[in-house]
Symmetry: D2
Subunit: 261 residues, 4 copies
């Protein structure tokens, strides 16, 4: 069975800005989904902010292996209930790819527990992305570096938690650096942040960028993504202890009582 | 100047449960604060749920280097505004010690981005805590292991992010293990979770436990805890780029405009 | 193409100790290889200390995707040249599974840079292995814990570097804990240490242990394991710089000269 | 008592190259030691390759809290016995600062377990070092970035293990990036690699570089650096088990026998 991937797009600039519409006439989400679908192991569909429940019903998420997220202009319009639903699905094991300006998305900030802030400059400058972890599956076949002739600059300090691994670091023409590819796990879910993708440049049409996305979907995919117990706090009764023990001392809870939350 | 430490206590069981009152007649927070104040480098005061703003006004937090947090029965009563205020102060560099049942506190879940769930059993069984990182400052002088004759059991899987470092692992008489001492950094703030401390046992009167707390306050202390920029996302105008660059290509933002959040 | 796996065995106790011979009449390496070969994605062969070059010629290693290593009695007899050859192949991307008493093997100590010491007791006591990272591929299908009724005890402090991730932690009947499953990457090579496997107990016949080994081979496998450049330190001449720069200031090296090593 | 620091210098270029002698007439080690001694908490002395035992006798190392290491031209002349002695002292808890071209020193490769290779170019180009971990003690007071107008370029992939934390990342004028400040722990010893310091430029006279070194010595210092047990593998006899157990099953070792190494 292929990796069931949902490509989520905010889908605003494509309708309000001529430059963006010119580059992504069907929407950035469609371009990304097409790139993923070119790989036989991936089956990608799209969802957008404007759909009911932003296209992310509980049923659809339950049948999603990997979710990719691009947003920029209107993070605030994403419903808190949907954000919480996505977070729970990530904890269960759904993979999540967070793209470019989605560093400020509700879901990314929710899962990181930090502001996820950074410096930025929109000057169409050159970005050169260096692989600092060539053995990582996301870097497979990427080479030691690749370039994007026109991109927005993102600069450090990027206020995210120290990652599990750093895969890519960007060099910018104007003098900054940025940790452009980082991984985390939250519950059983794999998370990858990938920096490139400003909407006024054709970044998601670029071959190497598409290859990174394909690699990242495969890396983030967890075929056993059903860890419901990640959110459960079960009491283990004394008589079911794995080693025989005798209850001792004073107690706060009665036998079988649920804990406080 | 000593390390300005605030010991936060939920302060409920001490008033509603005779066992707890008997062990901690002045409240757990007072016992912990006394233990910390025995070290000349620390100056500890207390704050409780019942005080206005739970004793954590913006002014007080701004003058706090390290905050310790114990709660159990009524996590839900902690105001969301105070939780957010504490989170921001942690990102700026305030240290945070999260104690025992505070694994389910709003502030810990907020900073971890995960459910922070675990197994539990209240049977007064033996806990033996092993040092798995003897060179870590929090383990200084602790020895290879120490015991708590009566403690509540907490068992894995503990759904927190992979820590920066694991310092302690617990063995329980009933057959479980638990990562009992773990560190993370969020923004510029150091965070330490320490497992022991069930309210019906005299854990915080124990010498070794007190030594761990003293070590942890010193480790978490950041003398430069004023990183306001952790939450800022400044635009760097083209003409102020560190290397001379010329603007190219299409733009979404006008010069000097604030980014979307 | 299946994952080309070589199961290396010291192959001494099986010939000198009746108990071990009784449990593993064809050698532990054969038992492990058979378990791996039961998975259609893996093609496992064996190699032993007694073969020329310990069965690990340069040609064979070049055609090996994952190597598993069990040794105990005679680590010192492994040739330093073969150890260095294996290390180089790991840096290029070959996976390595280090089993039980191989914590003291030359190759593991070489790749860790630490003593890899631990406590031990041979008393046939109960070991219960807890999954502390349920989303990790090595833990797929393992469940929250499993038991080995008779095993040797290994206790902390285990002097290895902080791992990339901790997957399993053991509880021992006699009161110790141990980080029993840990991952590292060295160069492009994935490394997994797995604790169980004392030769006087039938551990490698156990289903769950075999499943962990199969999972670990699949996790360690890097289909692009040819990162020769991991050991190279190339000079980048000024005229080949990616951005045009002009040479300035005094120099130590002449153009094109090799660096010092 | 101040932090007893030994600044080790290869001390060759200062005698054979006029440029280097002009910048560091008393040797790079003396310049670094003077910078450290300007801080009242540090007491720095020097040692060089040419001294007996390279100035690193067992007695002196036993009385050393932090060692800094700069070498370039003649790594091979460092005695293997001294390297092993330094490694053991690091495992016990001595801090180690590895500077610039010492990435290829025997001691650094020994402790990392990897080739520690990188790209390089000697063109006097501009290096801009960015802080990517502002709350880390080594970054205290350093600011968000600082510049070295003339430095040697080091480029990725730098084949070291994924660090505990990345503190600094360099931008180079010629288009490369490099992880310039990284931390690891080996045994109980803290290790920091800091990239700048090519001998033909006055890098170690620079204020910010000196501040980083002072911060790093303080961070690496472990007041309890006597963890001899890091290299020991003690047998725990059955009758001394922490929990009462009865010996079961077959055994390989007799009671009290030392394990194999």
């Amino acid at each position: 069975m292929p990796i069931r991937t949902v490509v989520w797009g905010e889908n605003i600039h494509e309708h309000t800005n001529e430059v963006v519409r010119g580059i992504y006439p069907e929407g950035m989400h469609t371009t990304i989904a097409n790139a993923l679908n070119a790989d036989p192991e991936i089956e990608a569909t799209t969802a957008t902010l404007q759909e009911p429940e932003h296209g992310l019903s509980a049923e659809r998420l339950a049948a999603t292996d990997v979710l990719t997220w691009w947003g920029h202009k209107d993070h605030g319009s994403v419903s808190d209930a949907v954000v919480e639903r996505v977070a729970e699905r990530v904890w269960e094991g759904m993979g999540l790819l967070v793209l470019h300006s989605a560093h400020f998305s509700k879901i990314f900030k929710r899962l990181m527990g930090t502001p996820c802030a950074l410096k930025w400059r929109e000057a169409g400058e050159r970005e050169r992305i260096w692989t600092v972890n060539p053995g990582h599956p996301i870097a497979a076949g990427i080479g030691e570096h690749f370039e994007l002739e026109n991109e927005e600059m993102y600069g450090e300090f990027f206020s995210v938690p120290e990652p599990l691994e750093t895969v890519f670091i960007s060099w910018f023409q104007g003098g900054e650096v940025f940790r452009s590819g980082m991984t985390w796990r939250r519950g059983a879910g794999n998370i990858f942040y990938f920096r490139p993708g400003h909407e006024t440049y054709p970044t998601y049409h670029q071959d190497t960028v598409q290859k990174v996305l394909v690699n990242a979907v495969k890396w983030a995919y967890n075929p056993h993504a059903n860890f419901r117990q990640v959110t459960e706090a079960p009491n283990v009764p004394v008589e079911k202890a794995l080693e025989p023990i005798t209850e001792r001392g004073p107690k706060l809870h009665k036998a079988g009582e649920a804990g406080y939350r």
